[in-house]
Amino acid sequence: MTQTEIRTPPRSPVAGPAAESVVRPGGNAVDRGRKRLFVPFVGPAFLLYTVLFVGPALYAVWISFNKWAGAGPMEFVGFGNYVRLFSDKLFIQSFLNTLLLLFVVGIAIFVIAFGLTLVLRDMAGKKIARSVIFFPHLVNAMIFGVLAGFIFNPAGLVNTMLGGLGVEDPPAWLSQDNLFPLIMVMMTWITTGYFTTILMAGVDRIPPYYYEDCALAGANAFQRLRYVILPLTWDVFGTCAVLWTISSVKIFEIVWVFGGSTGQGMPPTQTWTTAVYTYVTAFSGESVPAYGAATASAVLSLALVSVLVLLLRRVMKREAVEF
C-alpha cells in the first residue's frame, strides 16, 4: 500500500506571477536528481521484465487466438479457443475445482491459522510450536502427494491402523471420487503453517499496552479480538489473502502426483485444476499438442487471478491503523 510519488509542490493559489517565477521548472534539486536517475535505475529492471515476462505474456495472448501444435503453421481462430473452453465440460469442472481450492481451502486455512495464532500467542514453548507448524511448508508438496499414496493405499498405514481398531471395511481413500477432497485436506495442512507464521508476525507487532488496557477495561477475549487484534492486523490479512489467491490458482504439482501415480500417466479428470488442464492440453505427450487452447486456459487463469486480487483489495481496504 505504500506508494512513492514524485510530487511537485502544490502551487499556492495566492501566489501571483511573481511567485511563479521563483519555482524553477522541473522542481527542486532533489526532484531533478530523481528524474535523472529514473532511467538508469528503472531501465534494467524494466528491460528484464519486458524480455522475460511482458513479452512472453503478450505472445501467449496472441497464441491463444490461434490453433497451433507447437510447431508448423498457426491458424488464426479469433476467440474460438475461448468459446471452446466454455463449452468444454472438463474445463468447467477444472475451473470449479480451482475455485474450490481457492475459497474452501482458503477459508479453512484462514480460520485455522487465525485460531492457531490466538492460541500460540501466549502459549508456553511457542517458538518450537511455530517451527513445527511451519515445517510442512518447507517440504515440497509433491512429497506429500507421494507420501499420501503410501499412507492411504489399501494395504497402507491408515488401513492397517484402522484394521487394528476393528474397522473391517475402511473407505476407498484413493478412489477417483475421494482424491480431490483428500487433496483439499492435504493442501490445508501444508499451507496453514505458512499463513500462521505471517499472521503471528502481525499479531506480535501489537504493543503489549493495548492488552493491558483491555485487561484494565475488563474486556473479554472476544472483545480483545474484535477491538484490538483484528483492526491492527487487518492489512496483514489482506496481504495473506492476496498471496493465497495467487498461489491457489497455480496449484498443480500436488494434484499431478496425488492421483498421477508418480509420473505414470496422469491424474483422473475429477481432480484436475485449470493448471492441470492447461498442462495436459499442451504437454500430455499422448496426442497432438493444442497450444492455442492451452494458452487460452492459462490466460483465463491469469484473468481470474487479476480480477480476484482487485476485488480482494477493494473489499479488504481499510484505513491502516498507525501505531
Binding site: G70, A71, A172, S175, Q264, E286, V288, P289
Partner: protein, 429 residues
C-alpha cells in the same frame, strides 16, 4: 513531455530486446551430430546405445554430442522446433514422436537410413515388412518412413511360471478359455487379475485389446474419427465393452484396485498376491527388483475370439530426425548403425527389450511375446494409434476408467463415448 520521451525510450528498448532474443542462431558442422536420448545414464538400454555410439565414433570419425535426457526428451524438442537449434536425432516411442514430429510435418523422411547397408543387407530389409506397412509411418511426399524403429514394446498377460506351471502347459487361447481360467483361479482362492486402476493407460489396454479382437486393428481409430459418433453404435464396440464389463462383474480384479496408487498392485502381483497382470513388455525389468523369490516371468497373448484375429500390439521405439536438423545425414547414419546385429542382440539379452530385427536374440522372459508377435496376423499401436489433440486424455481414458472401475455399465460407456465424441468434434473440427 520528458517523462513521455523516457517512457517511450524504455518501451522501444524493451521491444528491441524481445526481438533480439528471438534471433540467436548457430552454425552446424558436418562431422558431428546432436542426439537427445530417451534413455538415462545407467539404464541397461543406455549402456547398449552408448556402446554403439563409441563404436560409431571410432569407425566414422563423427562426433556424437549425446544428451541422456530420459523420457521427456520429445517434450523438450517441441520448443526447439520453432528455432534453428533442433537436435539432429531423437528417439522415443511412436506414440510420443508421432504427434510432435510427424503430424506437424516436422519429421524428415529417412531415405538414407533405410537405404544404408548394415550387416550385408539394407536397413529396409532388416525390419520385418509387416511392421513397415503401417500407414502412420509414411510422410506426405517422402519415399521412406519418418521413423526408424530399433525396438518394440508389446503387451501380454504376465504370470509367474513357477507358481502356475499349468498355464505354461496350456495357456488360455480364446476369451472363453480365459474366463474359465479366471474362474478356476478364483475358485482356488487366488486373486485372478492385478491392475493398477489409477493408471488410465493400463485400464485402457483392456478395452483397446478387446475392440481390436471384436472389430480388428484400426477400428477404434476409425470410430473415433467420426464426428457423428455413430461408429459407437456398431455391435463390435458394445461387445468389446461387454468383455471388459464381464471382468468387472466377475470380480476378477484384485481387491482395492480402484483405490490404490501405482505401483501397489503390480507389486502385489510380483509378490504372488494375484495370478495375472495384463501389461507391457517392460514388466519383467520393472517388477524384477521386488519380485518374490523364484519368480519366473512368462506370458500369454491377449486371448482371441474363437476364430477371430490374433493381432498384437507393436509400439515402435526408434529414431526420428527433425526436418530442420543440420546434420541429418550423420544422424541417419547413426540410426542405421544402431540396427547392427551386435546392438540388436544386446538390446534383447542385456536390456531385455524386444529388438526390431526378427533375427535378433531375445531374453527368456520375452520368448512368449516374441512368438505371439511372429504369429500375429496384424499389428496395432497403443490407443490404436489415436493422436487427436486431447481425445485420449480428456475423453477416451476417463470413460474407460469408469468402465474398468465399475462405475458405468457397457451400454452406459458406449453412450458416454458417443455423446462425448459428438461434443469433442464440435469443439475440435
Amino acid at each position: 513531455m520528458a517523462k513521455i520521451r523516457k517512457m517511450s525510450a524504455l518501451l522501444v528498448g524493451g521491444v528491441l530486446a524481445v526481438t533480439a532474443s528471438g534471433c540467436a542462431s548457430q552454425a552446424g558442422s558436418s562431422d558431428a551430430l546432436t542426439y537427445w536420448s530417451m534413455w538415462k545414464e545407467g539404464e541397461a538400454q543406455q549402456k547398449v546405445v552408448a556402446a554403439a555410439i563409441a563404436d560409431f565414433e571410432d569407425e566414422t570419425g563423427i562426433t556424437v554430442n549425446v544428451q541422456w535426457q530420459g523420457r521427456d526428451n520429445v517434450k523438450k524438442v517441441v520448443p526447439t522446433l520453432n528455432t534453428n537449434k533442433v537436435p539432429d536425432l531423437v528417439d522415443g516411442s511412436f506414440a510420443k514422436l508421432a504427434p510432435i514430429l510427424a503430424e506437424t510435418g516436422q519429421a524428415k523422411s529417412l531415405t538414407e537410413a533405410y537405404d544404408a547397408e548394415v550387416d550385408g543387407s539394407t536397413v529396409a530389409d532388416l525390419i520385418p515388412s509387416a511392421y513397415l506397412d503401417a500407414d502412420e509411418l509414411s510422410v506426405d511426399g517422402g519415399d521412406a518412413p519418418w521413423m526408424l524403429p530399433y525396438s518394440l514394446t508389446s503387451d501380454a498377460i504376465w504370470y509367474n511360471a513357477a507358481a502356475h506351471p499349468e498355464l505354461v502347459e496350456n495357456p488360455p487361447a480364446t476369451w472363453d478359455d480365459f474366463i474359465d481360467t479366471l474362474d478356476q483361479l478364483k475358485a482356488d482362492g487366488e486373486a485372478p487379475l492385478a491392475i493398477d486402476g489409477d493408471v488410465s493407460g493400463y485400464n485402457a489396454y483392456w478395452f483397446t485389446a478387446a475392440i481390436v479382437r471384436t472389430a480388428g486393428p484400426g477400428s477404434l481409430k476409425e470410430i473415433a474419427t467420426d464426428p457423428t459418433g455413430e461408429g459407437w453404435d456398431r455391435p463390435e464396440a458394445l461387445e468389446a465393452a461387454e468383455m471388459v464389463e464381464q471382468l468387472v462383474d466377475g470380480g476378477y480384479f484384485i481387491d482395492g484396485f480402484n483405490a490404490s496408487k501405482w505401483p501397489a498392485q503390480q507389486q502385489a502381483w510380483a509378490d504372488n498376491q494375484a495370478a495375472l497382470l495384463f501389461n507391457g513388455t517392460w514388466i519383467p525389468t520393472e517388477t524384477g527388483p521386488y519380485a518374490a523369490d523364484g519368480f519366473e516371468y512368462s506370458s500369454f497373448p491377449f486371448p482371441h475370439l474363437d476364430g477371430g484375429n490374433t493381432a498384437q500390439r507393436a509400439d515402435f521405439v526408434g529414431f526420428a530426425v527433425p526436418a530442420k536438423a543440420k546434420n541429418a545425414e550423420n544422424a541417419q547414419a547413426l540410426a542405421a548403425y544402431f540396427l547392427g546385429e551386435e546392438y540388436q542382440n544386446a538390446l534383447g539379452t542385456d536390456a531385455k527389450i524386444l529388438p526390431i530385427r526378427a533375427d535378433a536374440a531375445v531374453s527368456p522372459e520375452m520368448t512368449t511375446v516374441k512368438e505371439a508377435l511372429d504369429a500375429a496376423d496384424g499389428y496395432f499401436q497403443q490407443n490404436d494409434g489415436i493422436s487427436f489433440p486431447g481425445y485420449t486424455e480428456k475423453l477416451l481414458w476417463p470413460a474407460i476408467d469408469q468402465l474398468v472401475l465399475g462405475k458405468v455399465s457397457a451400454a452406459e460407456f458406449i453412450e458416454l463415448m458417443k455423446s462425448g465424441q459428438v461434443d469433442y468434434w464440435k469443439q475440435n473440427s
